[in-house]
């Protein structure tokens, strides 16, 4: 009974705490000063048509590096907790249906292609490394559903993940040496605005993030289906 009242009390306090966000926050009429700087100078300085991408990759690049590190820590945690000491035979694996197998054979290359498109065009269209990486991981999930006995190569996964992480930090260090600061993307030529090869190092960095996020999520999936040793 006390428990019930305590829950109601806690929820009431949370409502009180969050209510000002609904009642007192007047909608903004124009961009905040920070956003004005990003939206006003961003396209000229960085050459990225997608302003969200220029914020994620360059202006707040350190935050993104931190987020990638958090993702890595979570993936390592999943691998640690789901580690199996002895290899257990998987209980009753049934073959996938012909429908799923045929559908996968048709859809898998398309999903992979869309994933790569999304992270290479992160500076032009909605999307980027995180979304592209998740798309690639979803393609792998579909493949593993259709081929129950298939296994993911840990070596390739670990090398992809480590190398993309190392190159990401190396690109940041190159920005420190050749441009204004760490993760500054202006050390590569800006190119023509709105084309694929433009915006300096932003597409390169975002592709590396895409590879890293994709391989990390595939690692998590592989651990969860008991592939870890």
């Amino acid at each position: 009974m006390i428990r019930k009242y305590a829950v109601i009390l806690i929820l009431g306090l949370f409502v009180l705490m969050l209510l000002p966000l609904l009642t007192e926050l007047t909608p903004f009429q124009e961009l905040s000063p920070v956003a004005q700087k990003y939206a006003g100078e961003g396209p000229d300085a960085l050459g990225s048509a997608n302003l969200v991408t220029s914020v994620v990759v360059t202006y707040r690049g350190m935050d993104t590096l931190g987020e990638v590190a958090v993702l890595f820590a979570a993936a390592a945690g999943v691998g640690f907790f789901l580690r199996r000491k002895e290899k257990r035979p998987a209980p009753g694996k049934r073959e996938a249906s012909a429908l799923l197998k045929t559908g996968t054979a048709f859809l898998l290359p398309l999903i992979l292609l869309v994933g790569v498109f999304v992270f290479t065009h992160g500076h032009l269209t909605p999307g980027g490394g995180f979304q592209g990486g998740v798309l690639i991981a979803s393609a792998v999930v579909l493949f593993l559903f259709a081929n129950r006995s298939a296994s993911v190569s840990r070596t390739i996964l670990q090398w992809t993940e480590s190398l993309s992480g190392v190159f990401y930090v190396a690109m940041g260090a190159l920005g420190l040496l050749l441009a204004a600061g760490f993760l500054d993307s202006r050390f590569l030529p800006p190119g023509e605005f709105g084309k694929l090869f433009s915006a300096g190092a932003i597409p390169v960095i975002y592709s590396l993030i895409g590879l890293k996020v994709g391989s990390e999520l595939v690692g998590i999936i592989d651990n969860m289906r008991g592939g870890a040793e």
Binding site: L31, G40, V78, V134
Partner: protein, 117 residues
């Protein structure tokens, strides 16, 4: 955009309620995911400006009038990464749940008394 704020607010409270009252660990994790989604919706709605469009420059949004046409890109960038981190944290919590079930053969949070006083 006040509707999105209200939906986000409701989702946060529903998720917290689920986390506080459910006993099954999987359901607690689902409650966390619901609250997480609510927080994302609230953050996006704070960055919205009435009648404006996505912060991507193309034929529809010229670079010259971008300041008058686009919404705030900073909350969008924050939510973009927060979604992926939420996914990874959910996966980590599910891995904990698997280990807890292996240890006690139960997913009821009341069976785990080691850290209770």
């Amino acid at each position: 955009m006040i509707y999105v704020s209200i939906i986000g607010f409701a989702l946060i409270i529903i998720g917290l309620y689920g986390m506080l009252t459910r006993r099954n660990i999987i359901r607690i994790i689902i409650g966390f995911s619901i609250a997480d989604t609510g927080i994302h919706l609230m953050m996006v709605s704070i960055g919205y400006l009435k009648g404006r469009t996505a912060p991507i420059l193309d034929k529809a949004v010229d670079q010259a009038d971008a300041l008058q046409r686009v919404v705030d890109p900073v909350p969008s960038a924050l939510v973009l990464t927060a979604i992926v981190i939420g996914l990874a944290v959910t996966a980590l919590m599910l891995a904990y749940a698997v280990r807890l079930h292996e240890a006690k053969g139960s997913l009821d949070i009341h069976d785990f008394k080691e850290l209770k006083w």
